[in-house]
């Protein structure tokens, strides 16, 4: 079992005919993901190595039975692509695109509140359920099937920490890259809720960073609703206030959003917080039930 994506996922890729889009679509298919369609306006009827291209997401849902969309559309068209997919009724949208104006994302998030569609991203590496399906750009080779759920704001820290776990023989149920933008879809709270409910997940790793209050809200949620062990990591202790560290959302504003405050909030509710990616894997090994 896994969360969000799995063996039953039927994927449509918006922007599949672009360079990045086709490269990662084929990698996802090679991993075992069932990729049923691509969407590029004006290119209906074409195909990418046998994957049919449709002009709209609605067509991909109707004719190919797509239930999950991955968005690889350039930033200025990406918000519209998400809205189109939600309107076509897919249950999950994974948006990889980086650089979407935050006003557009605020509107998208407001619209999604009234639908049954979930969003992961934007500016994220995607979601992988090892051995079942890979939707995004997380390198499947570093993962292994297992019983640890992982959710992270940073993409490369997913790779780094998963690699450390896999090297120790610890596999993963699902790894979720929630993305580094200030306004995003599924966050720590939603991911923790999914993993808590998932019978095949024994422990959750959450990887945070400076900026915003996602980690603090996760701590409050853990206290009230999570009974499984949680191991945490926070990046950015050395980040100075007011400087954006790469990710649009990674910025300490005044005294708010510091790594120290986040680590403290998590430790206060019993989360074991590692000092570096290696010690996170060690803490996971200690905390995993036999």
């Amino acid at each position: 079992m896994s969360v969000l994506v799995g063996a039953d996922t039927r994927l449509v890729v918006q922007g599949m005919t672009g360079n990045e889009g086709s490269f990662h679509t084929l990698r996802n298919r090679d991993y075992g993901t069932e990729v049923v369609a691509g969407v590029t306006p004006g290119k209906a009827g074409q195909d990418v190595e046998g994957i049919p291209v449709f002009g709209t997401v609605a067509d991909a849902v109707r004719e190919a039975g797509a239930d999950t969309s991955m968005v690889f559309v350039p930033p200025r068209f990406a918000a519209d692509a998400i809205l189109e997919a939600a309107d076509a009724g897919v249950r999950l949208i994974v948006c990889i695109t980086e650089g979407i104006p935050v006003k557009d994302m605020a509107y998208v998030r407001g619209y999604l509140r009234g639908t049954r569609t979930s969003l992961v991203g934007p500016n994220c590496p995607g979601v992988i359920s090892p051995g079942e399906a890979n939707v995004g750009i997380i390198p499947g080779e570093v993962c292994a099937p297992g019983r640890v759920g992982l959710v992270s704001r940073s993409g490369t820290l997913v790779y780094q920490i998963v690699h450390e776990m896999t090297s120790r023989g610890i596999g993963q149920s699902t790894c979720i890259g929630m993305g580094g933008d200030p306004v995003h879809g599924i966050g720590f709270v939603e991911a923790l809720e999914l993993f808590q409910r998932d019978a095949e997940t024994d422990l959750v790793v959450m990887v945070g960073e400076i900026g915003g209050d996602d980690e603090e809200r996760a701590a409050a949620f853990i206290e009230d609703h999570v009974t499984k062990p949680v191991v945490g990591y926070i990046a950015g202790f050395e980040a100075p206030p007011g400087k954006r560290m790469g990710h649009a959302g990674a910025i300490v504003t005044g005294s708010k959003g510091t790594a120290a405050a986040k680590a403290e909030a998590l430790e206060a509710v019993g989360v074991r917080v590692g000092h570096d990616p290696t010690s996170v894997a060690a803490l996971v090994a200690e905390a995993l039930p036999d």
């Binding site: 104006p101 400087k243 560290m245 649009a248």
Partner: protein
């Protein structure tokens, strides 16, 4: 991107929001002339991308042009909270009856806009929120609905009757600016009621979303006016995510999270990073070479740490890029390299075969941090 006050006020004016008449000055003489043009008295305010100017001596009430020149003389070229002052805004003095505060900010935890209004002006909004939260009216605005009449009535309801209409009009126009201008913050502190009944924005703090600059061309053009570190400029021109820091270890990594984590691990090993540099996903040999050139051009750098976890990025290309860079620039400092992930074996082999005297291979991220820390602490001794 945080705008200078005078730039924010230009945007306010363009949206029909009443602001004091003002002139930007870059010399004491220009400040005196501006004061004459404004009727002989003025307010002189430093222009920096940081708040707290009122309490920090960054605002002067000037009764004569000579006063204004003296104030400008004191301010120009000075350093305010680490920001260099290169210009002042000279404004007319207005007869103020009462001061208030208002702002709109994008609330990242909900994805909605949060509007604030309080009848207490010239205050630090964060202390007021902590001490007397009831003094502040708060309204969440769903971006799909937009700002509605009831939002405005709720907000201005905390103001004296005679200010409500004017303040309501300003709220509607600030909302337009927020939406048309891709602002993530607009703050007016203070918003004032004048003795003649007009409501005027006495200050303007505006932050524009960097991701939206492609459709805010007139704002993007303003970026050249902000001071920028030369190394930072070079990195930006090359399309790299770079932030200058205070230490001596140059850092290159792929992915914002991994680079932040690298800074932390280096600090725990006892050294300080000279920078944050993210080469991004799928870094090519050329990107690697440019990054290394940028880092090595910073005189503060005593050693470099390259920390790459290959996902989409291939470590063999990274290794080739490092060697190319070392052909192009003359490295005088040691470069610790840690490669892991996609094609890491090939990458390590390429570096081993080259046997470059400056390159120090490291097996893990922690090992790399410890080696580089030992190198810089040795260099300082």
């Amino acid at each position: 991107m945080d705008l200078y006050e005078h730039m924010g006020k230009d945007l306010f004016r363009a949206h029909g929001i009443d602001v004091p008449r003002g002139i930007v000055a870059e010399t004491p003489d220009a400040a005196a002339k501006a004061t004459i043009a404004l009727g002989g008295r003025s307010v002189v305010k430093i222009q920096v991308q940081v708040g707290g100017r009122g309490k920090g001596g960054g605002v002067a009430l000037c009764a004569t042009p000579q006063d204004a020149a003296a104030a400008a003389e004191r301010m120009l070229g000075s350093d305010f909270k680490g920001h260099h002052v290169s210009r002042v805004l000279v404004e007319e003095q207005l007869p103020i009856a009462q001061e208030f505060y208002t702002s709109f900010v994008l609330d990242r935890s909900t994805g909605e806009y949060l509007a604030l209004m309080t009848a207490e002006g010239g205050i630090d909004i964060e202390s007021l929120a902590a001490e007397r939260p009831d003094a502040i009216r708060r309204v969440h605005v769903d971006p799909v609905l937009g700002l509605r009449a009831w939002h405005v009535r709720e907000l201005v309801g905390t103001l004296p009757l005679e200010a409500r209409e004017g303040a309501g009009e300003i709220l509607r126009r600030l909302w337009d600016l927020l939406q048309d201008g891709d602002a993530t913050l607009v703050e007016v502190n203070p918003l004032v009621l004048l003795e003649d009944g007009r409501v005027v924005a006495l200050d303007a703090k505006v932050t524009i979303d960097d991701n939206a600059l492609y459709r805010q061309a007139h704002v993007a053009d303003l970026m050249d006016q902000f001071p920028i570190d030369p190394v930072e400029k070079r990195a930006k021109d090359a399309g790299l995510q770079y932030v200058k820091l205070d230490g001596h270890v140059g850092i290159i990594g792929n992915g914002a999270g991994l680079v932040m984590s690298t800074l932390d691990v280096v600090a725990r090993a006892g050294a300080q990073a000279a920078n944050f540099l993210d080469v991004g996903g799928g870094a090519s040999a050329d990107t690697m070479a440019t990054s290394l050139e940028v880092i090595l051009s910073d005189p503060a750098v005593d050693a470099v740490l390259i920390n790459i976890f290959g996902g989409i990025t291939r470590c063999d290309l990274v290794a080739t890029g490092i060697l190319e860079a070392l052909d192009r620039v003359d490295a005088t400092v040691p470069i610790v390299v840690r490669l892991d992930g996609t094609n890491a074996e090939e990458g390590r082999q390429i570096l081993a075969d080259a046997a470059h005297p400056r390159i120090v291979p490291a097996a893990t991220m922690l090992d790399a941090a410890e080696q580089v820390a030992a190198l810089v602490t040795g260099a300082a001794a």
